[in-house]
Amino acid sequence: MAVSAARLYRTSIGKKVIMATTGVVLILFVIGHIYGNLHIYEGSTTFNGYAKFLRVVGAPVFANEQLLWIIRAVLLACVVAHITCAVQLTQQSRASRPIRYVKHTDPKATWASRTMRWGGSIILAFIVIHLMNLTFGTLHPSFIEGNAYHNVTALFKLWYVSAFYIVAMLAVGFHLYHGTWSMFQTLGIRNRDNHRLLRGGALVLSVVFVLASTSVPLAVLTGIVK
Amino acid sequence: MATETERRSPAPPAAPATPARDTYWHESADHSMLESRAPEGPIDKRWEERKFSMKLVNPANKRRYTVVVVGSGLAGASAAASLAELGYRVECFCYQDSPRRAHSIAAQGGINAAKNYRNDGDSVHRLFYDTVKGGDFRARESNVYRLAQVSTDIIDQCVAQGVPFAREYGGLLDNRSFGGAQVSRTFYARGQTGQQLLLGAYSALSRQIGLGNVTMHPRTEMLDLVVVDGAARGIVTRDMVTGAIGSHVGDAVILATGGYGNVYYLSTNAKGCNVTAAWRAHKRGALFANPCFTQIHPTCIPVTGDHQSKLTLMSESLRNDGRIWVPLVAGDSRRPDQIPENERDYFLERKYPSFGNLVPRDVASRNAKTVCDEGRGVGPGGLGVYLDFADAIKRLGKRTIAERYGNLFDMYQRITAENPYEVPMRIYPAIHYTMGGLWVDYELQSTIPGLFVAGEANFSDHGANRLGASALMQGLADGYFVLPYTVGNYLAGVKPGQYKPDNIAFKEVENEISQRTQRFLATKGTRTVASFHRELGKLVWDYCGMARTDAGLKRAIGRIAALRTEFYENVHIPGTGEELNQSLEQAGRVADFFELAELMCTDALHRTESCGGHFREESQTPEGEALRDDEHFSDVAAWEYNGVGNAPTLHKEPLTFEYVHPSQRSYK
């Protein structure tokens, strides 16, 4: 089994399987995370409560922040695996067409499908900055440990930060749109019967995500959330 | 014999390019050269008994024998794979970049087999009977019977390989009636039967290549056969990428190189189809049989202009619902929809009330030609007749027609930009298949020991006319079920690996080939190879096409000889011999077509009867139907080569019919 798993990984299809499975985890996280973020509309106490809850969750089985760290570890592992495969696959593709076309047109491919690599890189950059903004607070005008509500609102009041977030959210949205569908194809779940369903689902998911996530910076800018 | 011909036909009217010839051919005295070795006895036991009487090669020894297979079409691929499975070393050659692209891939309609899955009265004997009769009694009974017998194994074999034949909802195989057959014995895979059968044979071949039993040589053209001590010992080839001339030794050589329809330049064959392999074998001593038996298919898309490079066939099935007509009067320039019913001539329905539009290929083609010669043809150049679906659409509705012929209609529209649902299709006959080929005995061995010929390349089991869906059957019968036995029978009698490629005989042939190449390249004349091929094709089509006459054929022979001379003096071939050089490849092929064309005309000239695809205007019934002359021509005409431009020698294999008694075909 281990041997065969290794042989699976050696092939590009194996790497794709890893991207897909880690992709699932990442998607689930992002959905949950954005859902959590929407508590911000219920005011600081609820939102901070939620942030606190993230740390004590799992008690009494887990000590303070223990479960959170486990989740963090899993997430980190997934992102690393996901990126590693992405990079390896990208290198393989580059190598397989040494001479490019003088003229090249893409008759069908969706924009999303052709920007997975760019989109991914933007997301990577975003995550790093994002953690420095709101988790470590190293990149923040007035970071207050434990006061997530303040951290977010204070941050988004800076228009250029909000702008950056909105762009990043769009990138994630596109990535999700192709990714979610592509994932099912990679795992061999997609077929001509469920094709429209999956494409539709992917579209809804990414649109809802973009609306929900960008609403936060916009709400702060427009003063709906103070 | 020459005088004999003069007597039978008027002297030729003087034509400029025609040097008067006194002799067109010599008649051979001894017929010993043509030993058919067909078994005697009850016809249904003959193949069984022959198989049993054959010598076998010890399994341990098989590896030591090398068989050269030229061709990877249905015949070549199936033979190469089957022989390799038996344990022989096989070297397989094709000119395309992959064996999967052989022209068998283009066959559309289907493949016959006497399975009688329809319970409509089909049987081995009926398929045998239909084939002999359809061939206008110019084929060998023993061979045709064997063909019908193994036809059923072919379908089993192909299904086992995963060939996706059409199925019914119950999961059983579907059949259809094809080419006017009275029973439904045709198996098909949409309009791509040949493709699916070839991919089946190709997969079997690929398996053997993967296992290392077959060495495949794509992009390698056979340019000559090497005969040493009276037997075929190997071939000389040109690597079409590097230009390297090389030798390949074989204890036996199989030619499965397809038909020579491209001698007409415009045909339904692929651009690369050629006679070179067969012709070189002929020049090395193999007799060439019935070269004038060529088949013309009535439903092809007409020529649009001189730029035309090939003709596209449309399945015969179209004639089931389409009605064929031309304007009643010559020179009627109105659009078809403006020509009222009473000013149209549905000439097939008029002349053949009982068969109507479904008369056999040769009859349908000839009648189309006649009306066009009368100036009633339609479309560019007046070379076409209408195939009209208006009534069928009225009767069955557009949907049904779309279901039946949708893909064909699309293909037609893609090429002509006309919509067959609205305006009638225009069709015209085109060269489609060549019944003639290298003469072979019952075991498919040519007159050169150790040289076997299979598929369309041999003179085949189709006599003077091939029935639809029977060529695929024959190619696979030869390769899967006949050659594996008969080649073994030959090899059992020879010592393996007696000759090496450095043998002087091989070197000599290699030098001949190199010199020929140099000569082509050195000519540096003012005409392209294609222009010569086009002109040759027009000559052969005009004089040795759908209808032939004594005078016309004699004129053609003179003109072809003259054009051949100009070709060698005035052809321009760019580039060198040491590279991929498509002009050079063409030149070699056209050069051989020139010599073949002369032999075709000579054969057509000698056969003063009409039969099957060969129509001599001098020999027709009062109603203008083909009139056979069994008294003088119930035989196979096999030709011996006597040098370029020299009259060839005619050998005859008499044909006897014990089971199917010759009768005049009538479709009135």
Binding site: L8, R97, T105 | P99, Q161, A166, G171, S333, G377, L580
Partner: protein
């Protein structure tokens, strides 16, 4: 006397003289695999809308030959869309602008008088250029040789109707089997991946009862071979299917992905060349 009329000869009343087109071509010229190539510009005034694209190139080649230049080498054979020999990158699209059409079936009426046309060979590490527009696609053959078949030696077959195949399966198998091996999928794929070609063969044999015994070994060997030939990976972009002259659907790729995963993780047989 039996002389056939031909265009030019007794031209019929309702014939038409096709209009001619002026074209500017940019064509990749490369003498052989070793030497470098470049785009070269040609013009012609003798094209007509009735010509096929390859017939237009024939005309250009005749002109070049008579001028003493080397004609443009391109692959072709059947010229009716079934052998898979032809294949050109025309203005950046494999097989040109028309859907479900091979290069040889493409007609000049798809272009306008005065058009500029870029003609390039298939580009892929696994399809090295041999000359001008001719590439070496033998990697496709090696993929099939690695296992793209059902092992059924001649003679051993049971009666064809002994094995039932449900019509939908037979139809699906046929649609996948319709692949002509032209390589357009690889040429168009931004990753130069051969997934559509390989998956088409895998799918054809995987849905048939005859194909079951070797099903997982087959997909294992074919994928390993595909990888080693230097094709790119598939990121489910879908351009291959869009340019495929036989409209092979992306479904086959999903099927390959599933079967390959099973071959490795569940039904772990076959693999590197058994």
């Amino acid at each position: 006397m039996a002389v056939m009329a031909r265009p030019g000869a007794n031209v019929a009343p309702n014939s038409h003289i096709p209009p001619t087109m002026h074209l500017t071509l940019h064509v990749w010229r490369q003498h052989d695999a070793a030497s470098p190539g470049k785009m070269v510009q040609y013009t012609t005034d003798d094209a007509s809308p009735d010509m096929s694209f390859l017939e237009m190139l024939d005309v250009v080649n005749e002109e070049l030959t008579l001028r003493g230049e080397e004609p443009i080498a391109f692959e072709h054979d059947c010229r009716e869309g079934i052998c898979g020999s032809c294949g050109l990158m025309i203005n950046g699209t494999a097989h040109g602008p028309e859907a479900a059409t091979t290069t040889c079936q493409l007609h000049m009426r798809s272009f306008k008088d005065g058009d500029e046309i870029y003609i390039e060979p298939w580009r892929s590490k696994a399809f090295p250029v041999i000359k001008d527009l001719v590439v070496d696609r033998s990697s496709f053959d090696r993929i099939i040789q690695s296992g793209g078949y059902i092992s059924a030696p001649t003679g051993g077959a049971v009666d064809a109707n002994a094995m039932l195949v449900a019509k939908p399966d037979a139809d699906f198998a046929f649609e996948a089997a319709a692949c002509i091996g032209c390589g357009a999928c690889v040429a168009q794929c931004p990753n130069a991946s051969a997934m559509l070609f390989t998956a088409a063969k895998v799918a054809h044999l995987a849905v048939l009862p005859q194909g079951q015994p070797e099903r997982y070994a087959r997909v294992g060997q074919m994928v390993e071979r595909m990888e080693s030939e230097g094709f790119g990976n598939c990121t489910n972009i879908g351009e291959c299917s869009a340019v495929c002259p036989k409209g092979i659907a992306l479904d086959v790729i999903g099927l390959l992905n599933r079967d390959f995963r099973k071959a490795r993780l569940v039904n772990n047989d076959g693999g590197d060349g058994m």
